[in-house]
Protein backbone atom coordinates (compact mmCIF):
# COMPACT_ATOMS: atom_id res chain seq x y z
CA UNK A 1 0.00 0.00 0.00
CA UNK A 2 1.19 3.45 -0.89
CA UNK A 3 0.61 6.72 1.01
CA UNK A 4 2.52 9.70 -0.46
CA UNK A 5 3.99 11.86 2.28
CA UNK A 6 3.07 15.10 0.50
CA UNK A 7 -0.64 14.47 1.11
CA UNK A 8 -2.97 14.69 4.10
CA UNK A 9 -5.45 11.96 4.97
CA UNK A 10 -8.82 11.43 6.66
CA UNK A 11 -10.30 8.57 8.67
CA UNK A 12 -12.79 8.08 5.81
CA UNK A 13 -9.92 7.22 3.48
CA UNK A 14 -9.81 10.41 1.43
CA UNK A 15 -6.57 12.24 0.63
CA UNK A 16 -6.16 16.00 0.36
CA UNK A 17 -3.36 17.82 -1.48
CA UNK A 18 -3.03 21.40 -0.30
CA UNK A 19 -1.65 23.92 -2.81
CA UNK A 20 -2.03 27.37 -1.27
CA UNK A 21 -5.78 27.81 -0.77
CA UNK A 22 -6.68 25.05 -3.27
CA UNK A 23 -7.34 21.50 -2.20
CA UNK A 24 -7.31 18.46 -4.46
CA UNK A 25 -9.32 15.45 -3.20
CA UNK A 26 -9.30 11.73 -3.97
CA UNK A 27 -9.47 8.36 -2.24
CA UNK A 28 -6.52 6.39 -0.93
CA UNK A 29 -4.89 3.18 -2.07
CA UNK A 30 -6.43 1.46 0.96
CA UNK A 31 -9.90 2.61 -0.10
CA UNK A 32 -9.64 1.55 -3.73
CA UNK A 33 -8.30 -1.84 -2.69
CA UNK A 34 -11.10 -2.34 -0.18
CA UNK A 35 -13.76 -1.34 -2.72
CA UNK A 36 -12.53 -3.56 -5.53
CA UNK A 37 -13.36 -2.67 -9.13
CA UNK A 38 -14.85 0.83 -9.17
CA UNK A 39 -17.57 1.16 -11.78
CA UNK A 40 -19.20 4.53 -11.05
CA UNK A 41 -18.22 7.84 -9.50
CA UNK A 42 -20.79 10.54 -8.66
CA UNK A 43 -19.38 13.99 -8.02
CA UNK A 44 -20.94 17.34 -7.08
CA UNK A 45 -21.32 20.20 -9.54
CA UNK A 46 -18.74 22.99 -9.87
CA UNK A 47 -19.78 25.71 -7.44
CA UNK A 48 -21.17 23.30 -4.84
CA UNK A 49 -20.19 23.88 -1.20
CA UNK A 50 -18.74 20.89 0.58
CA UNK A 51 -18.56 20.54 4.35
CA UNK A 52 -15.78 18.76 6.23
CA UNK A 53 -16.89 15.31 7.36
CA UNK A 54 -20.10 15.37 5.32
CA UNK A 55 -20.77 13.34 2.14
CA UNK A 56 -20.08 15.10 -1.15
CA UNK A 57 -20.52 12.25 -3.63
CA UNK A 58 -20.39 8.50 -4.06
CA UNK A 59 -18.05 5.90 -5.41
CA UNK A 60 -19.53 2.59 -6.44
CA UNK A 61 -18.00 -0.84 -6.82
CA UNK A 62 -19.86 -3.70 -8.51
CA UNK A 63 -21.41 -4.69 -5.20
CA UNK A 64 -21.69 -1.54 -3.14
CA UNK A 65 -22.21 2.20 -2.93
CA UNK A 66 -19.76 4.14 -0.75
CA UNK A 67 -20.07 7.76 0.22
CA UNK A 68 -17.24 10.20 -0.31
CA UNK A 69 -16.68 12.44 2.74
CA UNK A 70 -15.27 15.93 2.37
CA UNK A 71 -11.84 16.30 4.03
CA UNK A 72 -12.27 20.04 4.43
CA UNK A 73 -14.73 22.91 3.99
CA UNK A 74 -14.69 24.54 0.57
CA UNK A 75 -16.26 25.26 -2.80
CA UNK A 76 -15.85 22.91 -5.75
CA UNK A 77 -13.87 24.58 -8.55
CA UNK A 78 -13.29 21.56 -10.80
CA UNK A 79 -14.34 17.92 -11.14
CA UNK A 80 -12.44 15.17 -12.93
CA UNK A 81 -14.61 14.48 -15.98
CA UNK A 82 -12.45 11.48 -16.95
CA UNK A 83 -13.92 9.45 -14.11
CA UNK A 84 -17.35 9.41 -15.73
CA UNK A 85 -15.97 7.39 -18.65
CA UNK A 86 -13.15 5.63 -16.85
CA UNK A 87 -13.94 5.02 -13.18
CA UNK A 88 -11.32 2.25 -13.15
CA UNK A 89 -8.64 4.97 -13.13
CA UNK A 90 -9.33 5.31 -9.42
CA UNK A 91 -8.19 1.70 -8.92
CA UNK A 92 -5.24 2.02 -11.27
CA UNK A 93 -3.91 5.30 -9.89
CA UNK A 94 -5.75 6.48 -6.75
CA UNK A 95 -3.46 9.49 -6.22
CA UNK A 96 -3.42 10.56 -9.88
CA UNK A 97 -7.18 10.06 -10.33
CA UNK A 98 -8.26 13.18 -8.40
CA UNK A 99 -11.98 13.64 -7.92
CA UNK A 100 -12.60 17.30 -7.08
CA UNK A 101 -10.60 20.49 -6.70
CA UNK A 102 -11.84 22.90 -4.07
CA UNK A 103 -11.16 26.43 -2.93
CA UNK A 104 -10.42 25.80 0.75
CA UNK A 105 -12.27 27.91 3.32
CA UNK A 106 -9.40 27.52 5.74
CA UNK A 107 -6.12 26.01 4.54
CA UNK A 108 -4.82 26.06 8.13
CA UNK A 109 -7.65 23.81 9.35
CA UNK A 110 -7.08 21.46 6.43
CA UNK A 111 -3.42 21.16 7.44
CA UNK A 112 -4.50 19.48 10.70
CA UNK A 113 -5.50 16.24 8.93
CA UNK A 114 -3.54 12.97 9.36
CA UNK A 115 -0.03 12.70 8.00
CA UNK A 116 0.98 9.86 5.72
CA UNK A 117 2.67 8.04 8.63
CA UNK A 118 -0.40 8.33 10.87
CA UNK A 119 -2.71 7.21 8.08
CA UNK A 120 -0.50 4.22 7.26
CA UNK A 121 -0.70 3.16 10.90
CA UNK A 122 -4.46 3.65 10.91
CA UNK A 123 -4.89 1.66 7.68
CA UNK A 124 -2.75 -1.24 8.86
CA UNK A 125 -4.75 -1.51 12.11
CA UNK A 126 -7.88 -2.19 10.12
CA UNK A 127 -6.45 -5.10 8.14
Amino acid sequence: MNYPSSLKYTKDDEWLKIEGDTGVVGITDYAQNALGDIVFVELPKVGAEITAGKPFGTVESVKAVSELFAPANGTVTAINEELAKSPEKVNQDPYGAWMVKIKLKDAGEAGKLMSSADYEKYASERG
Binding site: N33, G36, D37, E42, T58, K63, G127
Partner: protein, 380 residues
Protein backbone atom coordinates in the same frame (compact mmCIF):
# COMPACT_ATOMS: atom_id res chain seq x y z
CA UNK B 1 3.75 -15.86 4.17
CA UNK B 2 0.69 -14.01 5.40
CA UNK B 3 -1.40 -15.88 7.93
CA UNK B 4 -4.74 -17.05 6.67
CA UNK B 5 -7.27 -15.03 8.65
CA UNK B 6 -9.85 -16.99 10.60
CA UNK B 7 -13.53 -16.51 9.93
CA UNK B 8 -16.12 -15.96 12.64
CA UNK B 9 -16.80 -19.28 14.38
CA UNK B 10 -20.55 -18.87 13.95
CA UNK B 11 -20.47 -18.74 10.13
CA UNK B 12 -20.90 -21.99 8.25
CA UNK B 13 -18.06 -23.06 5.99
CA UNK B 14 -17.81 -25.24 2.92
CA UNK B 15 -15.08 -27.89 2.70
CA UNK B 16 -13.13 -25.46 0.48
CA UNK B 17 -13.10 -22.57 2.97
CA UNK B 18 -9.38 -22.84 3.76
CA UNK B 19 -8.53 -23.02 0.07
CA UNK B 20 -10.43 -19.80 -0.66
CA UNK B 21 -8.60 -18.04 2.18
CA UNK B 22 -5.24 -19.37 0.98
CA UNK B 23 -6.06 -17.93 -2.44
CA UNK B 24 -6.59 -14.54 -0.81
CA UNK B 25 -10.31 -14.43 -1.56
CA UNK B 26 -12.34 -11.52 -0.16
CA UNK B 27 -14.79 -13.33 2.11
CA UNK B 28 -18.34 -12.31 2.93
CA UNK B 29 -21.21 -13.56 5.07
CA UNK B 30 -23.77 -14.91 2.60
CA UNK B 31 -26.87 -16.19 4.37
CA UNK B 32 -24.78 -17.38 7.33
CA UNK B 33 -22.02 -18.88 5.15
CA UNK B 34 -18.41 -17.66 4.99
CA UNK B 35 -18.06 -17.46 1.22
CA UNK B 36 -15.67 -15.92 -1.32
CA UNK B 37 -17.15 -12.87 -3.03
CA UNK B 38 -14.16 -12.39 -5.33
CA UNK B 39 -10.49 -13.34 -5.71
CA UNK B 40 -8.46 -10.10 -6.05
CA UNK B 41 -5.22 -11.94 -6.87
CA UNK B 42 -6.62 -13.07 -10.23
CA UNK B 43 -8.44 -9.87 -11.12
CA UNK B 44 -11.58 -9.69 -9.02
CA UNK B 45 -15.24 -9.65 -9.92
CA UNK B 46 -15.07 -8.04 -13.38
CA UNK B 47 -12.30 -10.39 -14.55
CA UNK B 48 -14.20 -13.37 -13.12
CA UNK B 49 -17.41 -12.43 -14.90
CA UNK B 50 -15.57 -12.01 -18.22
CA UNK B 51 -13.70 -15.30 -17.75
CA UNK B 52 -17.02 -17.14 -17.55
CA UNK B 53 -18.41 -15.40 -20.63
CA UNK B 54 -15.29 -15.93 -22.75
CA UNK B 55 -13.47 -18.96 -21.33
CA UNK B 56 -14.31 -20.76 -18.11
CA UNK B 57 -14.72 -19.96 -14.42
CA UNK B 58 -14.77 -22.19 -11.37
CA UNK B 59 -17.17 -21.69 -8.44
CA UNK B 60 -17.53 -23.34 -5.05
CA UNK B 61 -21.30 -23.63 -4.63
CA UNK B 62 -21.29 -26.18 -1.84
CA UNK B 63 -23.42 -23.90 0.31
CA UNK B 64 -26.35 -24.99 -1.85
CA UNK B 65 -28.39 -27.80 -0.29
CA UNK B 66 -29.53 -31.22 -1.47
CA UNK B 67 -32.59 -33.27 -0.58
CA UNK B 68 -32.92 -36.85 -1.76
CA UNK B 69 -36.29 -38.56 -2.28
CA UNK B 70 -36.42 -42.37 -2.49
CA UNK B 71 -39.16 -44.98 -2.30
CA UNK B 72 -42.13 -46.36 -4.23
CA UNK B 73 -43.99 -43.01 -4.06
CA UNK B 74 -41.01 -40.72 -4.56
CA UNK B 75 -42.54 -39.35 -7.77
CA UNK B 76 -45.91 -38.71 -6.09
CA UNK B 77 -44.19 -36.88 -3.24
CA UNK B 78 -42.18 -34.76 -5.66
CA UNK B 79 -45.26 -34.01 -7.76
CA UNK B 80 -47.14 -32.85 -4.66
CA UNK B 81 -44.56 -30.22 -3.67
CA UNK B 82 -42.92 -29.23 -6.96
CA UNK B 83 -44.71 -27.01 -9.51
CA UNK B 84 -43.08 -28.48 -12.62
CA UNK B 85 -44.10 -31.89 -13.94
CA UNK B 86 -41.58 -34.47 -12.76
CA UNK B 87 -43.47 -37.22 -14.61
CA UNK B 88 -41.95 -35.81 -17.79
CA UNK B 89 -38.42 -36.52 -16.56
CA UNK B 90 -36.52 -39.64 -17.54
CA UNK B 91 -33.50 -40.91 -15.60
CA UNK B 92 -30.60 -38.54 -16.23
CA UNK B 93 -32.81 -35.54 -16.80
CA UNK B 94 -33.30 -32.47 -14.61
CA UNK B 95 -35.49 -29.40 -14.70
CA UNK B 96 -35.97 -26.05 -13.01
CA UNK B 97 -38.93 -25.84 -10.65
CA UNK B 98 -40.08 -24.38 -7.36
CA UNK B 99 -41.82 -25.44 -4.20
CA UNK B 100 -44.84 -23.22 -3.60
CA UNK B 101 -46.95 -22.27 -0.61
CA UNK B 102 -50.72 -22.73 -0.95
CA UNK B 103 -50.89 -19.03 -1.94
CA UNK B 104 -48.69 -19.87 -4.99
CA UNK B 105 -45.78 -17.90 -3.56
CA UNK B 106 -42.27 -19.33 -3.34
CA UNK B 107 -40.84 -21.57 -0.64
CA UNK B 108 -37.72 -21.84 -2.85
CA UNK B 109 -36.66 -22.41 -6.43
CA UNK B 110 -35.04 -25.77 -7.09
CA UNK B 111 -33.47 -28.03 -9.68
CA UNK B 112 -35.17 -31.44 -9.71
CA UNK B 113 -33.02 -34.36 -10.92
CA UNK B 114 -34.52 -37.77 -11.74
CA UNK B 115 -31.91 -40.38 -10.94
CA UNK B 116 -34.25 -43.39 -11.19
CA UNK B 117 -37.99 -44.12 -11.04
CA UNK B 118 -37.81 -44.14 -7.25
CA UNK B 119 -34.96 -41.68 -6.75
CA UNK B 120 -35.04 -37.88 -7.12
CA UNK B 121 -32.64 -35.18 -5.97
CA UNK B 122 -33.54 -31.54 -5.30
CA UNK B 123 -30.78 -28.96 -5.30
CA UNK B 124 -31.93 -26.01 -3.18
CA UNK B 125 -30.70 -22.61 -2.07
CA UNK B 126 -28.19 -22.13 0.73
CA UNK B 127 -30.22 -19.60 2.67
CA UNK B 128 -33.35 -21.80 2.65
CA UNK B 129 -31.76 -25.19 3.48
CA UNK B 130 -33.51 -25.60 6.83
CA UNK B 131 -36.79 -24.06 5.74
CA UNK B 132 -36.95 -26.32 2.68
CA UNK B 133 -36.09 -29.44 4.67
CA UNK B 134 -38.84 -28.57 7.14
CA UNK B 135 -41.31 -27.91 4.33
CA UNK B 136 -40.51 -31.25 2.69
CA UNK B 137 -40.83 -33.14 5.97
CA UNK B 138 -44.16 -31.44 6.65
CA UNK B 139 -45.59 -32.28 3.24
CA UNK B 140 -44.37 -35.71 2.13
CA UNK B 141 -45.22 -37.61 5.31
CA UNK B 142 -48.30 -39.15 3.67
CA UNK B 143 -46.33 -40.78 0.86
CA UNK B 144 -44.29 -43.99 0.84
CA UNK B 145 -41.16 -41.96 0.35
CA UNK B 146 -38.06 -41.17 2.37
CA UNK B 147 -36.78 -37.61 2.16
CA UNK B 148 -33.22 -37.10 3.35
CA UNK B 149 -31.30 -33.87 3.76
CA UNK B 150 -27.92 -34.74 2.25
CA UNK B 151 -26.69 -31.15 1.92
CA UNK B 152 -23.58 -31.67 4.05
CA UNK B 153 -22.50 -34.74 2.07
CA UNK B 154 -21.42 -32.87 -1.04
CA UNK B 155 -18.93 -30.33 -2.24
CA UNK B 156 -20.50 -28.82 -5.36
CA UNK B 157 -18.17 -27.22 -7.91
CA UNK B 158 -19.54 -25.30 -10.88
CA UNK B 159 -17.44 -25.13 -14.05
CA UNK B 160 -19.03 -22.52 -16.31
CA UNK B 161 -18.23 -21.01 -19.68
CA UNK B 162 -17.79 -21.88 -23.37
CA UNK B 163 -14.64 -23.90 -22.57
CA UNK B 164 -16.19 -25.76 -19.62
CA UNK B 165 -16.72 -29.01 -21.53
CA UNK B 166 -13.14 -29.07 -22.82
CA UNK B 167 -11.87 -28.49 -19.30
CA UNK B 168 -13.97 -31.13 -17.60
CA UNK B 169 -13.43 -33.72 -20.35
CA UNK B 170 -9.77 -33.77 -19.37
CA UNK B 171 -10.76 -34.98 -15.92
CA UNK B 172 -13.53 -37.50 -16.61
CA UNK B 173 -14.27 -40.69 -18.51
CA UNK B 174 -17.89 -39.64 -19.05
CA UNK B 175 -18.67 -38.53 -22.59
CA UNK B 176 -19.66 -34.91 -21.94
CA UNK B 177 -20.68 -34.11 -25.51
CA UNK B 178 -23.56 -36.57 -25.10
CA UNK B 179 -24.96 -34.78 -22.06
CA UNK B 180 -27.54 -32.26 -23.19
CA UNK B 181 -28.43 -29.07 -21.36
CA UNK B 182 -30.14 -29.87 -18.00
CA UNK B 183 -29.18 -33.55 -18.22
CA UNK B 184 -26.73 -35.35 -15.96
CA UNK B 185 -24.76 -38.53 -15.65
CA UNK B 186 -22.51 -40.38 -13.22
CA UNK B 187 -18.87 -40.95 -14.02
CA UNK B 188 -15.36 -40.88 -12.71
CA UNK B 189 -14.08 -37.33 -12.08
CA UNK B 190 -10.46 -36.79 -10.94
CA UNK B 191 -10.41 -40.48 -10.08
CA UNK B 192 -13.56 -40.28 -7.94
CA UNK B 193 -15.96 -42.96 -9.09
CA UNK B 194 -19.68 -42.45 -9.50
CA UNK B 195 -19.57 -38.66 -9.35
CA UNK B 196 -22.71 -36.85 -10.47
CA UNK B 197 -21.95 -34.54 -13.40
CA UNK B 198 -24.84 -32.23 -14.35
CA UNK B 199 -25.01 -29.85 -17.27
CA UNK B 200 -26.61 -27.17 -15.12
CA UNK B 201 -25.57 -23.79 -13.80
CA UNK B 202 -26.52 -20.29 -12.78
CA UNK B 203 -24.57 -18.18 -15.25
CA UNK B 204 -26.35 -18.28 -18.60
CA UNK B 205 -23.34 -20.07 -20.10
CA UNK B 206 -22.79 -23.73 -20.94
CA UNK B 207 -21.28 -25.52 -18.00
CA UNK B 208 -21.32 -28.33 -15.50
CA UNK B 209 -21.79 -28.87 -11.81
CA UNK B 210 -20.00 -31.77 -10.17
CA UNK B 211 -20.92 -33.27 -6.80
CA UNK B 212 -18.00 -34.75 -4.90
CA UNK B 213 -17.59 -35.86 -1.27
CA UNK B 214 -17.50 -32.93 1.18
CA UNK B 215 -14.16 -34.06 2.60
CA UNK B 216 -11.75 -31.06 2.74
CA UNK B 217 -8.75 -32.95 1.38
CA UNK B 218 -10.63 -34.49 -1.53
CA UNK B 219 -12.40 -31.22 -2.26
CA UNK B 220 -9.14 -29.24 -2.28
CA UNK B 221 -7.45 -31.78 -4.56
CA UNK B 222 -10.29 -31.70 -7.08
CA UNK B 223 -10.55 -27.86 -6.93
CA UNK B 224 -6.85 -27.46 -7.70
CA UNK B 225 -6.95 -30.12 -10.44
CA UNK B 226 -9.89 -28.34 -12.06
CA UNK B 227 -8.08 -24.99 -11.99
CA UNK B 228 -4.91 -26.59 -13.37
CA UNK B 229 -6.82 -28.34 -16.15
CA UNK B 230 -8.48 -25.03 -16.97
CA UNK B 231 -5.30 -22.95 -17.11
CA UNK B 232 -5.02 -23.26 -20.90
CA UNK B 233 -8.59 -21.90 -21.20
CA UNK B 234 -7.97 -18.97 -18.86
CA UNK B 235 -9.86 -20.57 -15.96
CA UNK B 236 -9.91 -18.63 -12.72
CA UNK B 237 -11.72 -19.05 -9.42
CA UNK B 238 -14.95 -17.04 -9.29
CA UNK B 239 -16.88 -15.83 -6.28
CA UNK B 240 -20.41 -14.81 -5.38
CA UNK B 241 -19.95 -11.32 -6.83
CA UNK B 242 -19.54 -12.69 -10.34
CA UNK B 243 -22.16 -15.36 -9.66
CA UNK B 244 -24.64 -12.55 -9.09
CA UNK B 245 -23.73 -10.39 -12.10
CA UNK B 246 -23.74 -13.44 -14.37
CA UNK B 247 -27.17 -14.70 -13.30
CA UNK B 248 -28.56 -11.17 -13.51
CA UNK B 249 -27.48 -10.77 -17.14
CA UNK B 250 -29.19 -14.11 -17.83
CA UNK B 251 -32.40 -13.05 -15.98
CA UNK B 252 -32.16 -15.87 -13.46
CA UNK B 253 -34.11 -15.37 -10.24
CA UNK B 254 -32.44 -14.99 -6.86
CA UNK B 255 -34.48 -16.06 -3.83
CA UNK B 256 -35.26 -13.12 -1.64
CA UNK B 257 -35.16 -10.79 -4.65
CA UNK B 258 -37.22 -11.82 -7.70
CA UNK B 259 -38.95 -14.65 -5.84
CA UNK B 260 -39.97 -14.89 -2.21
CA UNK B 261 -42.70 -15.90 0.20
CA UNK B 262 -44.77 -12.91 -0.91
CA UNK B 263 -44.32 -13.13 -4.70
CA UNK B 264 -46.29 -15.53 -6.89
CA UNK B 265 -45.31 -17.49 -9.99
CA UNK B 266 -47.15 -15.26 -12.46
CA UNK B 267 -45.73 -12.03 -11.03
CA UNK B 268 -42.23 -13.51 -11.35
CA UNK B 269 -42.86 -14.59 -14.94
CA UNK B 270 -41.96 -18.22 -14.18
CA UNK B 271 -45.15 -19.87 -15.41
CA UNK B 272 -43.21 -21.77 -18.09
CA UNK B 273 -41.93 -24.08 -15.33
CA UNK B 274 -45.31 -24.40 -13.65
CA UNK B 275 -47.55 -27.15 -15.05
CA UNK B 276 -51.15 -26.36 -14.22
CA UNK B 277 -52.26 -29.45 -16.13
CA UNK B 278 -50.88 -31.56 -13.26
CA UNK B 279 -53.90 -32.89 -11.34
CA UNK B 280 -52.64 -31.71 -7.96
CA UNK B 281 -49.82 -29.83 -6.28
CA UNK B 282 -49.49 -27.31 -3.48
CA UNK B 283 -50.36 -23.90 -4.85
CA UNK B 284 -52.41 -25.08 -7.83
CA UNK B 285 -55.74 -23.64 -6.67
CA UNK B 286 -54.25 -20.22 -6.00
CA UNK B 287 -52.47 -20.27 -9.35
CA UNK B 288 -55.74 -20.84 -11.18
CA UNK B 289 -57.32 -17.92 -9.32
CA UNK B 290 -54.38 -15.64 -10.10
CA UNK B 291 -54.38 -16.70 -13.73
CA UNK B 292 -58.04 -15.73 -13.96
CA UNK B 293 -57.70 -12.42 -12.07
CA UNK B 294 -54.39 -11.25 -13.47
CA UNK B 295 -51.46 -9.79 -11.54
CA UNK B 296 -50.98 -6.33 -10.02
CA UNK B 297 -47.23 -6.29 -10.60
CA UNK B 298 -44.92 -7.95 -13.06
CA UNK B 299 -41.16 -8.48 -13.29
CA UNK B 300 -39.44 -6.50 -16.03
CA UNK B 301 -35.91 -5.93 -17.23
CA UNK B 302 -34.59 -2.38 -17.08
CA UNK B 303 -31.68 -0.66 -18.73
CA UNK B 304 -30.57 2.71 -17.36
CA UNK B 305 -30.79 5.47 -19.95
CA UNK B 306 -29.54 8.25 -17.68
CA UNK B 307 -26.37 8.06 -15.63
CA UNK B 308 -26.66 5.89 -12.52
CA UNK B 309 -26.82 2.34 -11.24
CA UNK B 310 -30.18 0.96 -10.06
CA UNK B 311 -29.61 -1.31 -7.08
CA UNK B 312 -31.54 -3.89 -5.06
CA UNK B 313 -34.41 -2.23 -3.21
CA UNK B 314 -34.40 1.14 -5.00
CA UNK B 315 -37.92 2.48 -5.62
CA UNK B 316 -39.46 2.90 -9.06
CA UNK B 317 -41.37 6.19 -8.93
CA UNK B 318 -43.74 8.01 -11.21
CA UNK B 319 -43.01 11.56 -12.39
CA UNK B 320 -44.54 13.01 -9.23
CA UNK B 321 -42.23 10.90 -7.07
CA UNK B 322 -44.81 8.37 -5.83
CA UNK B 323 -43.55 4.83 -5.61
CA UNK B 324 -45.05 2.46 -8.18
CA UNK B 325 -42.57 -0.41 -8.03
CA UNK B 326 -39.25 -1.67 -6.76
CA UNK B 327 -35.89 -2.86 -8.08
CA UNK B 328 -35.27 -6.48 -7.03
CA UNK B 329 -31.72 -6.75 -8.38
CA UNK B 330 -29.54 -4.22 -10.16
CA UNK B 331 -25.92 -3.73 -11.08
CA UNK B 332 -23.45 -2.90 -13.75
CA UNK B 333 -23.58 -5.76 -16.27
CA UNK B 334 -19.86 -6.43 -16.81
CA UNK B 335 -20.20 -8.22 -20.16
CA UNK B 336 -22.92 -6.03 -21.65
CA UNK B 337 -21.28 -2.91 -20.22
CA UNK B 338 -24.62 -1.41 -19.28
CA UNK B 339 -26.39 -0.75 -15.99
CA UNK B 340 -29.28 -3.21 -15.79
CA UNK B 341 -31.90 -4.21 -13.28
CA UNK B 342 -34.90 -6.42 -12.67
CA UNK B 343 -37.90 -4.70 -11.11
CA UNK B 344 -41.55 -5.19 -10.20
CA UNK B 345 -43.77 -2.62 -11.88
CA UNK B 346 -47.52 -2.33 -12.56
CA UNK B 347 -48.48 -4.23 -15.73
CA UNK B 348 -49.41 -0.98 -17.52
CA UNK B 349 -45.77 0.15 -17.25
CA UNK B 350 -44.32 -3.18 -18.37
CA UNK B 351 -44.34 -2.69 -22.13
CA UNK B 352 -40.96 -2.92 -23.83
CA UNK B 353 -39.74 0.62 -24.35
CA UNK B 354 -41.65 2.10 -21.38
CA UNK B 355 -39.59 4.75 -19.65
CA UNK B 356 -39.58 4.61 -15.85
CA UNK B 357 -37.88 6.52 -13.05
CA UNK B 358 -35.56 4.76 -10.63
CA UNK B 359 -35.07 6.75 -7.45
CA UNK B 360 -31.34 6.83 -6.70
CA UNK B 361 -30.45 8.68 -3.50
CA UNK B 362 -33.43 10.98 -3.84
CA UNK B 363 -33.04 11.70 -7.57
CA UNK B 364 -35.23 10.35 -10.40
CA UNK B 365 -33.00 8.63 -12.96
CA UNK B 366 -34.55 7.31 -16.18
CA UNK B 367 -34.55 3.68 -17.24
CA UNK B 368 -36.33 1.84 -20.05
CA UNK B 369 -38.01 -1.55 -20.07
CA UNK B 370 -36.04 -3.99 -22.22
CA UNK B 371 -36.56 -7.65 -23.18
CA UNK B 372 -34.99 -10.32 -21.02
CA UNK B 373 -32.78 -12.21 -20.74
CA UNK B 374 -30.40 -9.28 -21.15
CA UNK B 375 -27.75 -11.75 -22.35
CA UNK B 376 -28.18 -14.99 -24.26
CA UNK B 377 -25.18 -17.13 -25.00
CA UNK B 378 -24.30 -17.58 -28.70
CA UNK B 379 -25.70 -20.76 -30.27
CA UNK B 380 -23.03 -23.27 -31.23
Amino acid sequence: MLSVAESSPTLRKTALNTVHRQMGAKMVDFGGWDMPVEYPATGGVLAEHLAVRTGVGIFDVSHMGDIRFTGPQALDAVQHISMNDAARLVPGQAHYSAMLYPEATFVDDIIVHKIADEHYLFVINAGTREKDAGWVEQNVGGFRCTAENVSDDYTQIAIQGPRAQELLQKLTDAGLAQIKNYWFTFGSVCGLKNTMIARTGYTGEDGFEIYIPADPAISARVWHEVLAAGKEFGAIACGLGARNTLRLEARMALYGHEISESINVFEAGLERWCKLEKPEFIGKAALERIKAQGVKRTLVGLEMIERGIARDGYPIVDDSGSQIGCVTSGSLAPFLKKNIALAYVPPRKAEIGSVLNVEIRGQKVKAKVVPTPFYKRPKK
